[in-house]
């Protein structure tokens, strides 16, 4: 089932006109199917032009090391890696490192889009290296560190600011009123409602793609707000705590900074409807405030 189908309908509200923009957005499902059509066409083209196997992939990789003399000035290095069917950007980087230059540095671990450590800026877009097929990219393939983050070395960026923002929303369940010896009840509908928000792998792609976050260092950013959404919408969490959390996301550098540019939603490798979640929290905040004022 698609994520979009499972998102419960939200009544459109007067207070938040930006909401109407949501309807123009293709569902992750549609986008995926479209991507699939494109990659099929691509494969067919490749087949027409003869097998890609054996051809070299041209990578242009960003290099920088504060300690090594000839890398202190950032530069791009070229690598030519033999192509194999199924090869991802991460596979190509690993090949380049193991065969050509062992100092080439990048984070990676799971190779299956779940650890969130290999988000890079590939051909001008935030993508997970392990989830991006080389055959879908124009050559040369430019691999750069995530923009708007401090570069530690080569493709490794400093994630501390991202983690700080994630921690700022108090990202943990706080309810104290728990049934003895058995689980709390949660409706299927409620689980479906929070489901997409719980898929975040902390890759930082959304934050890096966000213009607002780039200009305002204190902006909580899409990932942290989505994390708050995850708890604010969970029916197991107590009301008081939800309100407390809403106040956190409603502060000066919170949800109201979002200008619904959708860049976060576009790059999220887990298809989380981030912009939609931010909008929904704005609505919640408005509702709550109306109650108090």
């Amino acid at each position: 089932m698609s994520a979009q189908q499972q998102e419960p309908e939200e009544p459109e509200t007067q207070e938040v006109p930006e909401d109407q923009e949501m309807s123009g957005l293709a569902s992750p499902q549609q986008e995926r199917l479209q991507r699939k059509q494109e990659s099929k066409a691509q494969r067919e083209r490749a087949a027409d032009e003869g097998d890609l196997d054996g051809d070299a992939v041209h990578l242009k990789v960003f290099r920088y090391d504060p300690e090594v003399a000839d890398k202190q000035e950032p530069r791009f290095d070229d690598f030519h890696v033999p192509f194999e069917r199924g090869m991802t950007v991460l596979d190509a980087l690993i090949y380049a490192r193991d065969e050509f230059d062992s100092s080439l540095t990048f984070r990676h671990s799971c190779r299956q889009a779940i650890c969130g450590s290999d988000a890079f800026f590939v051909n001008g877009r935030q993508r997970l290296g392990c989830k991006t097929q080389i055959s879908e990219l124009d050559q040369p393939v430019r691999v750069e560190p995530l923009p708007h983050q401090e570069v530690v070395k080569d493709l490794v960026v400093d994630m501390d600011h991202f983690y700080d923002q994630m921690h700022a929303v108090e990202p943990y369940f706080q309810s104290e009123d728990l049934p003895e010896g058995e689980e709390q009840r949660q409706s299927r509908e409620n689980r479906e409602k929070v489901k997409m928000s719980t898929r975040c792998i902390w890759c930082g792609a959304c934050m890096s793609s966000c213009n607002i976050a780039a200009g305002d260092n204190q902006y909580l950013g899409p990932a942290a707000i989505n994390k708050a959404y995850r708890f604010a919408m969970d029916e197991r969490e107590e009301e008081e705590i939800k309100e407390h959390r809403l106040r956190i996301v409603e502060q000066e550098h919170g949800v109201w900074r979002c200008q619904t540019q959708f860049s976060c939603t576009e790059v999220c490798p887990k298809d989380i409807p981030l912009t939609e979640h931010i909008q929904e929290l704005k609505r919640e905040a408005v509702k709550k405030n109306l109650k108090f004022w």
Binding site: M1, R32, K36, S39, K40, R43, D65, E67, V68, R85, G86, M87, T88, R97, D98, E99, S102, S103, T105, R107, H108, S109, C110, R111, Q112, I114, C115, G116, S117, K131, Q133, S135, V152, K153, V156, M159, H167, E170, P171, Y172, F173, L178, G181, E182, E183, Q184, R185, Q186, S187, R188, R191, V194, K195, T198, R199, I201, W202, F231, D234, E237
Partner: protein, 614 residues
């Protein structure tokens, strides 16, 4: 130097649970981990977590299934503890907000899994591990547990009495990946190793790149025996280029395996005439490899798993995530073409020997999770039994390390010369010894028994690691880790894989020996102290050599066919002789292999070995 009551090494499922357990028992606790906790491999687990939660099920049934699944190589006290503690510990996860899948009445869902007599696998969609990991990390944040992330632990600080059972552990040596700094972490009460799997000993694995068996190797060299290392689970359907797992669900829904001649080999070649594609993991893995070995593999490497005939609607409904996996990681569209699959290393049943409280034979040293072997999985792990192991034994290890009394353990640990039986199998080459960087020597536990003061032990260990790193960095020519690692991995996949023959295992041991010798000439090319992954991977490669050797040695001496361990020359389970664990100790740089009897006596009953027929 950093100092805490309890130091947990690793921030995956086991490490997080251990840290929370220690914190709850009142200890000042810190996690030291080479990856940020949310990047840990636990996030990749899909299927679910077993616990007897419902009426009609109880811990005794769970224990019984697990003992049978282990092919009678699990220890009853460990298995019973797992089954008894799992329900409460799973409920705790729910209380912490884990988004489990739900029934209509709002209770958590459970589903059937292979080898279980009751549908007791609790799950959160097809991402149980991801949610488990994140939920526990959130709770660690809530409690303010200190996390030193991207700190790679290079060694343990252990005293060096001649008898390993007299030694004690006082901390670890960490390498700050971001800055290159090497520092000691002193543990006032205990160190818990929760460093996870070792899949990188093979060149084709479902395990993450970080799974390099560091904890197993460090504990082993410090004097803790490794237990049942030969038992490695292989999964029959992983994608050839990456090792990404294609779940059993595809075969469950009716997916068909074909060889390169388009034959449905599971039936046509009679591997499993009754069950076909749905035969157990080890049977299907062997069938696939036989096809490839006999020249009927596609591109001489893999077979095809076809689900096209199920129709787009059914695939989209039930197997949509498989389409994503095949497309994202292999570039294959499962709706229009069959998917390539082959067996991949998946899980290590063996590991660091511990008792039910997570304690090893070295005072103050604990282990939990996949790096440990408290002996719940024996010869074969049931699906859904690894995740409860993390939380049950993670919590116990953390609490015990923090000084909580959990009662006397029934499982004994450590080598005791009067009772233990040693192997009489001859090795084709001398194992061990070589492969230690020449300038450095054995960093800890050389048997001299001189340094016992905690601070001095830690300082000595830190000094040894600093020297080792300087040596590796200063050397400017030689062999690179990638070359040795790839040679080792290929040898293991070729000869200590799903199929094992005496000749093959001996060949692998010879290659491992060569790797050790080449490793003496290893060097780090990257001159930088900033985020030097070249250095880190060089140290990890040393760990892989030690771990791979124990797997091969175990496979060589176990002359029977049990669980995941298949031997060409020995096609039967030999209960008379082999109801015993394979133990390997690192004695002054040289492995010695010995055995310890399996404990089949449980609390109320003795588990009688039965034929495993599913």
């Amino acid at each position: 130097m950093y100092e805490h009551d309890v130091i947990v090494v690793g921030g995956g499922g086991a490490g997080l649970r251990a840290a929370i357990g220690a914190h709850e028992a009142g200890a000042d606790t810190a996690i030291v981990t080479k990856l940020h906790p949310v990047r840990s491999h636990t996030g990749a687990a899909e299927g679910g977590i077993n616990a007897a939660l419902r009426e009609g099920d109880d811990w005794e049934l769970h224990a019984y299934d697990t003992m049978k699944g282990s092919d009678y190589l699990g220890d009853a006290p460990a298995i019973e503890t797992l089954a008894q503690d799992a329900p409460e510990d799973v409920i705790t996860l729910e209380h912490w907000g884990m988004p489990f899948s739900r029934e209509d009445d709002g209770r958590v869902s459970q589903r059937p899994f292979g080898g279980l007599s009751f549908p007791r696998t609790t799950y959160a969609g097809a991402e149980t591990g991801h949610h488990l990991l994140h939920t526990m990390y959130e709770q660690a944040v809530k409690r303010g547990i200190q996390v030193y992330d991207e700190w790679f632990v290079m060694n343990l600080a252990v005293t060096d009495e001649p008898d390993p059972n007299d030694r004690s552990c006082h901390g670890v040596v960490g390498y700050d990946v971001q800055t290159g700094k090497i520092e000691g972490f002193k543990a006032r009460d205990g160190v818990v190793l929760a460093t996870g799997p070792l899949g990188q000993a093979f060149d084709h694995t479902t395990n993450a790149v970080s799974c390099t068996g560091d904890g197993q190797a460090m504990a082993y060299r410090a004097g803790v025996p490794l237990e049942d290392m030969e038992f490695i689970q292989f999964h029959p359907t992983s994608l050839p280029s990456t090792g990404v797992l294609i779940s059993e669900g595809v075969r469950g829904e009716g997916g068909i395996l074909y060889n390169n001649e388009g034959e449905r080999f599971m039936f046509e070649y009679g591997y499993a005439n009754n069950d076909g594609e749905l035969a157990s993991r080890d049977v299907v893995s062997r069938a696939e490899l036989t096809e490839v070995n006999e020249g009927r593999g596609v591109n001489d490497e893999y077979v095809h798993l076809d689900m096209r005939h199920l129709g787009e609607e059914r695939i989209m409904d039930r197997l949509e995530n498989i389409l994503h996996l095949a497309e994202d990681f292999e570039g294959v569209d499962g709706l229009v073409e069959p998917m390539p699959v082959k067996p991949g290393q998946h899980y290590a049943m063996g590991g660091i020997e511990t008792d039910e409280n997570g304690q090893t034979n070295i005072d103050g040293l604990y282990a939990a999770g996949e790096c440990a072997c408290v002996s719940v999985h024996g010869g074969n792990r049931l699906g859904g039994n690894a995740l409860p192991e993390l939380i049950v034994f993670g919590k116990r290890a953390g609490r015990h390390a923090a000084g909580e009394d959990l009662g006397e353990a029934r499982i004994e640990t450590g080598y005791s010369p009067d009772v233990e039986e040693e192997t009489d199998v001859d090795f084709p080459v001398e194992p061990g010894e070589a492969g230690i960087e020449p300038a450095v020597g054995e960093p800890v536990a050389d048997g001299a028994g001189q340094v016992t003061d905690a601070d001095a032990v830690l300082e000595r260990a830190v000094e040894a690691e600093r020297e080792r790193v300087d040596y590796l960095m200063d050397k400017d020519d030689g062999v690179q880790h990638a070359e040795i690692r790839s040679k080792l991995q290929k040898a293991m996949t070729r000869d200590v894989n799903v199929f094992r023959t005496e000749e093959g295992i001996k060949r692998a041991l010879k290659v491992i020996r060569e790797c050790r010798e080449e490793y003496q000439d290893v060097y780090v090319d990257d001159p930088s102290r900033t985020f030097n992954t070249d250095l880190q991977m060089t140290v990890e490669t040393r760990n892989l050599i030690d771990v791979a050797e124990t797997i091969a040695l175990g496979a060589l001496v176990r002359e029977e066919f049990r669980g995941a361990h298949w031997r060409k020359e020995h096609q039967e389970r030999k209960d008379d002789e082999w109801l015993k664990h394979t133990m390997i100790s690192w004695n002054g740089g040289k492995p010695s292999v010995w055995y310890r009897p399996v404990i089949l006596e449980g609390e109320g009953e003795t588990y009688e070995p039965k034929v495993r027929s599913y």
